[in-house]
Symmetry: D2
Subunit: 214 residues, 4 copies
């Protein structure tokens, strides 16, 4: 049995819910296709988010870690390919911190690649009729912060554990007052479940068209 | 018992499915909250679409007619407020017709208002957590053609029957290869069901903010 | 010599400039290709806007009236095809008025067509390398209010004068803090000048593809 | 006198012009504020693009290199912050090459930071009334390929030369047939000129809010 740790942020900014934590909540403890899903909610706070996830990794010793965050305005499920060593907050986090142009890890490498099979995950999610594509930027806020922090930890202390990040769209009830795109929570849950199973069983990525022009 | 006739187009352009006909199919024959739903699929063809719906109106004698069409690229359920007397086709219809700058009804009025309570429908759909807003243009293709044609027929021959049009977004499986927004079919079905019940039972619209700046 | 009256709104909502009044200001008094351009600034206020423009029409007796307004978020110059008999304000006007679901003219027709050659104007503007297309909704705020009001006045009292409305995008300096599209003021000015000349000399519209699917 | 080398791509994909080469062409040889601008056109071809620019760097020995590319669909001037070691082509380049998931430099670092003061450049461009913001992804096509390749070369062979990449929007004549946003060529030229002067004279970046949430 493989173990996959899924993490999701609590709400931030002006949003009162975060589809990331809503989605993973419903997957906690699920055993499916020989994969056990474990979930943990993460504060949308620089540093603290990393500590919470690293502690969970040390406690649960999963085979795979997938952090999940909201990317309001996107239309698809987007596994992130790369985390960059930069905190540059456009808004304050949930503790009022707003770092500008600071490295996440002093003297850390400029970037870490996801060690998940991002194109295979996209392929499997799309086979279920759910729009998905690989993203090449996780931004410079807490999502990227956590993604980089986790990849740095795994690289230094647990290279046998694979890790990555998936951004998800708004859910419909968040967009009643704005014309932003959304995706139903149940599709997001199905996509995350499929991503977790795919990542647990497949280390090699697919060779498939999927880049971005710019 | 009230009767609501729901109509939905077959696929057009480069799309192989049309969420409008997919959605109404699943509502056919449903009896709910003292409303009976009757549905009919409509060809995406100028003139013929009108004839099919007018025939269905004459046969079923509904209390309310709601025509449904796809508006690819929109993020919300959008009841249309006004139909205009203009065919101006950017692409050919399913019979290869492409009228340019022709009136739908020679000497007809420039426009007809929906006689459905569009803001109340939006209000009820949003109460279910589904994004919706009133639209002020149904375009100049077959959707508007059918909307205008039906409103003209009702105005001339059956003013006791109320009618209107609702545009719906792409469904997720239509957007696998493009970054367009989408909405799950089951949300669309729930929204159309609620719109039909609302329209059947309420003639008066609500007085609520909902216009568009431009 | 033909006379064209161009009108432009003052700033509204949270904007501190309005490209409509900025643009027309620079065209005032211009004589070009046997057309004289006259301009008037209009308050973004229900009713008062109509009164100001009707007074200017009566005073100047132009051959053509073109009202100009900002449509923030659009990417192109968009001559409007149709004005609808509806005030439905999402925000208050510059006098604090916010009419909801009121007719502009009690018992007026549902809509008036622009009497300008909208496709020819689009064609001529695009020939200059400036993006343009016909729009089928001027919204339900003061822009549509003025457009409808002017068309109603012309229809009733001066059917020999042709009239219409053109929406223009933000200009670049309005979008420094948002990722909205914009168009340079000088392109807007060139486009409006060309539109005015085209409308002055040509009554017949072109038969060219240009409709909208929805 | 400082020397800035500006490079611009030739047209690619279905476009017949590339605003990048159009813009830099008009800056060639310009001496302004004690900065000399030198320009070179670059083929939109993997590998060859790098070779052309590296050769120009070796020949001209500039103080600063700024590569410029088109990002169709963006609304602003966007200095790129980071180049990643990945070729993943969604379309073929101008020689028919379409690398998928290949490193640009075997065993190169995951990413290089721009060594230009990207926020200061944005600040100075916005002071001219031209929309600009920092971007955190240059995509995975030839733009990012060249950006990474140049930064790798500078890092290895000429660390005293600073370098980076700026993405620019479509220009209006490219968008006549699509509703994409655009920016006038003269604004792009002004922005690039200001960016070059800023980069030539200022090594330190500003500490200003400018990150992206995701």
């Amino acid at each position: 049995m493989k173990k996959v740790l899924l993490t999701g942020f609590d709400p931030f900014g002006t949003d009162v819910i975060n589809p990331a934590s809503e989605a993973i909540k419903q997957l906690n403890g699920l055993i499916i296709e020989n994969v056990k899903l474990i979930t943990v909610e993460v504060p949308t706070v620089f540093h603290q988010s990393r500590e919470v996830v690293i502690e969970a990794i040390e406690f649960f010793q999963p085979d795979v870690v997938i952090c999940v965050g909201q990317a309001g305005g996107r239309t698809q499920i987007t596994p992130e390919r790369i985390a960059i060593n930069l905190d540059d907050a456009r808004i304050a986090d949930n503790e009022g911190q707003q770092p500008i142009d600071e490295p996440i890890i002093e003297n850390g490498p400029a970037a870490y690649w996801s060690t998940l099979p991002v194109k295979r995950m996209v392929h499997q999610i799309r086979k279920m009729g759910i729009p998905a594509s690989v993203s090449h930027t996780a931004g410079t806020f807490v999502c990227n912060h956590l993604f980089y922090g986790v990849m740095h930890y795994l690289s230094e202390h647990a290279p046998h554990i694979r890790g990555g990040f998936i951004h998800i769209p708004f859910i419909p009830e968040q967009t009643l007052d704005k014309s932003a795109p959304s995706m139903s929570l149940n599709l997001i849950i199905m996509a995350l479940k499929r991503a977790a199973i795919t990542a647990a069983h497949e280390q090699e990525d697919m060779h498939e068209v999927g880049g971005t022009i710019h």
